[in-house]
Symmetry: C2
Subunit: 277 residues, 2 copies
Amino acid sequence: MTRVAVCAPATPILPQHAVAITALAAEIAPEVELVIHDQCFASEGHFAGPDTMRLSALLECANDPSFDAVWFARGGYGSNRIAAAAIEGMDDVARQKTFLGYSDCGYLLAAMYKSGIGRPTHGPMVADVGRKDGDAAARRALRWLSDGCTGLEPSLGETPAVAFNLMTLSAILGTELMPDLSGHVVMIEEIAEHLYAVDRLMFHVTSNLSKCGLAGLRLGRVTNVPNNDRPFGSQPEDIVRFWCERHAIDYLGEAEIGHFAGNHIVPFGVAPPLARA
Amino acid sequence: MTRVAVCAPATPILPQHAVAITALAAEIAPEVELVIHDQCFASEGHFAGPDTMRLSALLECANDPSFDAVWFARGGYGSNRIAAAAIEGMDDVARQKTFLGYSDCGYLLAAMYKSGIGRPTHGPMVADVGRKDGDAAARRALRWLSDGCTGLEPSLGETPAVAFNLMTLSAILGTELMPDLSGHVVMIEEIAEHLYAVDRLMFHVTSNLSKCGLAGLRLGRVTNVPNNDRPFGSQPEDIVRFWCERHAIDYLGEAEIGHFAGNHIVPFGVAPPLARA
């Protein structure tokens, strides 16, 4: 039995998300026991409860030795507000634990990776079960929580890797949450940003990462791009190639991550050989 | 006679903007001669012509000794793509010149300020003449281009100051365009961003600027905030106070800058005493 605690460091899920993910787990990963913290349904303005409530729920889940993993319920925005305090409050129990999530929860993954806490891992979240085309992603996460070796992003190898939402990575740069990414493959994905905003983010991110000595950069899916008043004039992969070339970062091709059914698992650092086999 | 060259480092203006601003100049600042570069009307995808065209138009205006000032036509997005090359191409003539603009043109103002080129100045642009409530802003810019001493942001004093669009400042951080802002008052403004995005930008900007030893931060207008799926839960000034306090930056109050009629002039650095009198 793998016991997985679910909490919401950013925005809340609905009770039907909890019902659906629990049913799905019973069906395809019966050896995974999901324990969904009540805080997941709290609401205060934009967030799943005030900062103090989200922080204490996260620390309860992280520091409880009866849980093997912490699964973030949903992104949306807000985990940056509690990330530094979360690191400070995590104990030796948390250091042995897997943490799974993506999108806005990238702030937490970054900060944990920087501090060597647990096994921060990019992958689908509980709320994906409620998204169009999200069911396959949620299934992939549950299987991985169960066996720890399926559903890995196909390009993963012996080079350490991380994966981030592009906007989230941009906001991490220069802050106390930013890990050392030298020698890493950095995978990025984006959702619901205009292409000019993707261009601006790539300017900012490649300018900053050019100093890090990356192994290279991969592009996941850029989804739900809003229409602009006029076409931007180039596509996401062209934008990424342009800025990688400008700032001397190797562009390595596509990655199977993003806000879509094919969102795969990226353990931060080097995935265990068994998992990559 | 003050000769002012107008070019568009980001997005284009329409011929009617040129007609309107020329008529307004003839009416209220007849000693200002506006010379509007054809590049202002060029269009390629999102931009006012390709990078090479926008760069060469900017350098023509900046390096021509017959012009006293360069006025940016419009923001929108794109001046970051040519800012570093523009600095490299600017000669001694450009170093004596005034450059006026804001919003996306903040990339150029930042880079020039960092390099000690000319007198970079935050203020209304040509395209403001076409905006609702923009006429008063355009008039203020024309009067300032004429006399060099009216329309200054009211809080300016002997402490050096800069003014930026918040998103633009966020994207400048950690790049080669970023000036040293130690001892400065930093004024920020924003348009058309969700409040959660303003919160995220303030997290990023105050995290980074907390290392700079600022004199403090002032908040201009946050306009055209899109509706979110739910209320964010706090207002722009609360957000700014929160992040300033979190990162030990003095919040000094409001500033009369932004995408609105009351957008005032902020010469980067210390404004001349005469102008502040």
